[in-house]
């Protein structure tokens, strides 16, 4: 039971890192970007390529995944995303679905349809076991690493948001872009940077979670729903909202599949629908938007 809880927490933290970029993009730029999963997939493939083809060690690949995906995000934002701001949501949805299809097919063509295999370094393959019987807590070193990294990331991001000038500008731009621009805040550049960082985080999440979530062309389509659930339930105006939502989602998913395998996967969806019915703005949104 404790092991399961731990697994759920690890899964949830991973979802959090993956979905955070999406939440911020949605909250900041009011842009529904369904192609976010493609950035995560990119991160996973970067990890696979660097580790398997170029022989880089696992730890070095993670920052590389972040940086490369962030650069990709910045490039795309500047060129094709920017004209789409302010468009009706339907257009944005279709646009990002189109991008996702392109990404999925392109990756399928270049890398093949099968799951890529990631060989974790030995120090991540250990297992720690405490206790016994029903209260046994078994933690794989890999999952411990994930939890620690994600918590560190969350703390770092929270610090950036609340302690730095960039953070306060970002918060201002999220709250009211027009007034922020009126105050001289370079909203354009903030968008660019935020989108890049958000995509980079997705890439990092994809690389970090490569062994659990898998690396294959249909990754964006499989996990997009989960990211969207985290954003919809957690709201898009803070970091803690998505964090709590992601943890809840991860734990519910894992526990559900263990205790009620017959219903397993769809408990999460029912939960989501129920929460959204109760609070359509998400659990942690500050006010009703649009």
């Amino acid at each position: 039971m404790l092991t399961l809880l731990f697994d759920g927490i690890a899964y949830g933290m991973l979802l959090f890192v993956l979905a955070l970029g999406l939440a911020v993009t949605m909250g900041l730029m009011n842009f529904i970007n369904l192609a976010h999963g493609a950035f995560a997939m990119a991160g996973g493939y970067i990890l696979v390529l660097l580790m398997n083809r170029a022989g880089w060690p696992f730890l070095a690949c993670l920052p590389a995944a972040f940086v490369l995906t962030a650069l990709l995000g910045a490039l795309l934002e500047r060129t094709i995303y920017r004209p789409m701001y302010g468009r009706p949501h339907l257009d944005q949805v279709l646009f990002s679905i189109g991008l996702t299809f392109m990404a999925v097919a392109a990756v399928d063509y270049v890398m093949g349809s099968s799951q890529q295999n990631v060989q974790l370094p030995d120090w991540l393959r250990q297992r720690f076991e405490f206790g016994s019987g029903a209260w046994q807590l078994g933690m794989g070193a890999y999952r411990v690493f994930i939890v620690i990294s994600c918590v560190a990331l969350a703390l770092m991001l929270q610090a950036v948001l609340s302690r730095t000038r960039f953070g306060s500008r970002l918060r201002a731009a999220v709250d009211d872009p027009r007034v922020a621009a009126g105050l001289g805040i370079p909203v354009d550049r903030i968008f660019l940077l935020t989108f890049a960082v958000g995509s980079g985080l997705a890439g990092l999440g994809g690389a970090l979670g490569a062994d659990i979530l898998g690396v294959e062309p249909s990754f964006p389509l499989k996990f997009m729903v989960y990211f969207l659930i985290v954003c919809a339930v957690g709201g898009t105006s803070s970091i803690t909202g998505p964090l709590v939502a992601a943890l809840a989602l991860g734990i519910a998913d894992v526990l559900g599949k263990y205790y009620v395998p017959k219903l397993g996967g769809f408990i999460v969806y029912v939960l989501m629908i129920a929460i959204l019915l109760w609070r359509p703005q998400g659990l942690f949104s500050r006010e009703a938007r649009r």
């Binding site: 899964y11 349809s113 794989g140 890999y142 659990i212 998913d253 599949k257 263990y258 395998p261």
Partner: protein, 391 residues
């Protein structure tokens, strides 16, 4: 309304143009067409890739003439979606007038096509799907792959002979999985063993973490697994990562899990896994050595059991065409029944009554040879009929 007019005109023009463009060139009377429907994209894409390569190898080795006429193979992609398979089969039969349908990567695809085979009296060669009931779905179905009961029963026999008393079964939740679970459990219990729990994972995007935790909690002697090819690697890793092997739980599986195509990528965690299947790329026969060598020369990957199913499927069709002198329908079907030949996997018989495959089932273990992982056969059950039929 301007854009609407344009939409309209363009739409109508496009429709007309494309409709005219769709007129296929009429087939020459001397060509025999074979319609192969495979999942070239989607979750089962590796199946499609292997069978496609095997068909090309067969044609390269045996030419394109059979039954006195030229043979043309049309390959279509159904992406593993049964609705699409059905429509493609319909088109192949009605428009292209194929003499035989072949392929069928998963059970639902085969089952969806069966009524079309019956209605149009076209023999249907199942090269991949493995549920027992498929051959009963239509009198025109012939199978060259294998059935899960064959593999499952074979493994259950081996398990009980090797001091494995308590087992937990884990299968994917669809036709072949049900077959595997049912027949393994039956044979196990018949031989005095115990099945502690029967677990299922969804066919699509399975999550092995919670289910493996359950296995750990049940503490059996061994875990019996069936998963469709493509999921084996993921599963193996989770199995090792959760420390199940160190907890003393043996892993026994049908050969789909130690798929030759993916085996090398699984890494050392796969070493020692005992599996049962009808084909291993390491099978020690001259026919197989030639097959594997030719296959690897033409492609960058190793053949697996899907490839051998495709290869033998083509052989069955060619033999039947030759024997019946290019006939169609019932005559062609009858020429397929009762065929006996030496396949890269071993001796094979297409049963005349059930139209299903009778072959040797091997028990193998994963070992490392020359730096690569292979399924090394160490025991076999000769000429096993599909246990699913003898009920």
């Amino acid at each position: 309304m301007n854009s609407r007019r344009f939409h309209l005109i363009t739409g109508a023009a496009a429709a007309a143009a494309l409709a005219f463009g769709m007129q296929h060139a009429h087939a020459q009377a001397d060509t025999l067409k074979i319609g192969v429907i495979l999942p070239m994209t989607g979750q089962q894409a590796s199946t499609g890739k292997q069978i496609d390569a095997a068909i090309k190898l067969w044609m390269a080795q045996n030419g394109n003439k059979a039954g006195g006429k030229t043979v043309e193979v049309i390959v279509k992609d159904d992406a593993g979606i049964p609705d699409t398979t059905r429509r493609l089969a319909q088109e192949l039969v009605v428009n292209d007038k194929v003499v035989a349908l072949a392929g069928f990567g998963i059970t639902p695809s085969a089952l969806a096509t069966a009524p079309i085979a019956t209605q149009s009296k076209t023999p249907m060669v199942v090269m991949a799907a493995a549920t027992s009931a498929i051959t009963a779905a239509s009198p025109y179905v012939v199978r060259t792959s294998f059935t899960l009961p064959q593999a499952a029963v074979g493994l259950a026999e081996w398990a009980t002979k090797n001091k494995i008393g308590k087992v937990v079964t884990l299968v994917a939740d669809y036709g072949p999985g049900n077959d595997a679970e049912k027949y393994f459990a039956e044979r196990m219990t018949l031989n005095g063993g115990k099945v502690l729990d029967k677990l299922r994972t969804p066919l699509r995007s399975p999550d092995f973490a919670p289910v493996l935790q359950k296995v750990r909690d049940a503490a059996p002697d061994a875990l019996f697994v069936f998963l469709p090819s493509g999921q084996g690697a993921q599963f193996m890793k989770q199995f090792g990562e959760r420390g199940l092997d160190k907890a003393g739980i043996r892993l026994i599986a049908t050969g789909d899990v130690t798929d030759d195509d993916q085996l090398n990528d699984m890494g050392d965690v796969a070493l020692g896994v005992v599996s049962s299947h009808h084909y291993s790329a390491a099978h020690d026969s001259p026919a197989n050595k030639k097959f594997v060598a030719a296959f690897e020369a033409a492609n960058k990957f190793r053949p697996n059991f899907m490839a051998v199913g495709g290869y033998d499927g083509m052989r069955v069709i060619y033999n039947a065409l030759n024997a019946s002198k290019g006939a169609r329908g019932e005559a062609l079907l009858n020429a397929m029944k009762g065929q006996l030949f030496e396949s890269p996997r071993g001796p094979v018989l297409i049963d005349a009554q059930t139209r299903d495959i009778v072959q040797d089932i091997y028990i193998r273990k994963v070992e490392k040879k020359n730096g690569q992982l292979w399924n090394i056969e160490f025991d076999s059950i000769k000429q096993m009929k599909d246990p699913g039929k003898s009920k």
